[in-house]
Symmetry: C2
Subunit: 139 residues, 2 copies
DNA sequence: GTGTTTGCAAAGTGTTTGCAATTTA
DNA sequence: TAAATTGCAAACACTTTGCAAACAC
């Protein structure tokens, strides 16, 4: 999902998810996926897009993020009320959340050993397992 | 935390947490802690209080829930944007969250084996570890 | 051309706040 | 009586929606 440099690749990347490569989606995809994994909020991404000279409305950023999420290109993470984080690392992994700085950090899945999860009820399927290590600063 | 029947016990219970036993807090504490563990939202608790004939404002319900949370009488759980759950089970345990019904269910801590959590950075302390098993209904 | 996507502004949701009136100790 | 608590209404932060205009194919 990294190194999407040439625009043609970003276009194919979006097309592969059934999304029309519009100017806005192209710019947002580049910001999100062209480089290291990131944890962004809609507001942050919106600000970055404007800064990069791509006029996008906040509503469109939300639309795009949800479309990317639905397409499996990223993951929505909820750790506090009233704020969604979008994680461009869509492989299985977990998080540290600093409740003071409100910062999210990845924990590699392989590092954690998690067993003994209960059987889920008939007619249900596991959508995801999240481990969130919540930390605070010592005063 | 259960079977608080006599009001005198609820009063002591609140006093023990440094909270004045006001009519509203007494009623809310009874609804929350007198019986089985519960997962409630502020709105649900508010509705229940009104139904029980105790006129409380929603703002006061929020105040009380946060005070109870701060006092360690319950735990706030965030699993989706824009909605807080308050869990009257304040012992260490985890959750199943049904993304369709938006229902929370407890997983006993002893049932899960979780090791390999990373060291946290200098100057930080663990506030909590949450495991959330997200499930969906099959269609 | 047809269907999709955008952007704006407005509405929505759950939560928090300010402050005067009330209640508790 | 002094300090804490309540309730209202207004403010808040973030997100979603409706719909006409713009765009992709």
């Amino acid at each position: 999902m990294k190194k999407l440099r040439p625009y043609s690749q970003v276009i194919d990347f979006l097309r592969g998810s059934g999304l029309r490569p519009t100017r806005q989606r192209l710019a947002l995809a580049k910001l999100l996926f062209d480089g290291d994994h990131r944890h962004v909020t809609a507001e942050i991404l919106h600000a970055e897009a404007l800064e990069a000279g791509v006029p996008v409305s906040l509503a469109t950023v939300y639309n795009a993020l949800h479309q990317f999420n639905k397409a499996g290109l990223l993951r929505e993470i909820v750790v506090e009320v009233g704020r969604s984080y979008f994680d461009t690392n869509n492989s299985y992994h977990h998080h540290i959340f600093n409740e003071d700085s409100r910062e999210l950090t990845d924990i590699e899945a392989g590092q954690i050993n998690l067993t003994g999860l209960p059987e889920i009820a008939e007619g249900q399927k596991v959508s995801r397992v999240d481990v969130i290590l919540r930390v605070k600063n010592n005063n």
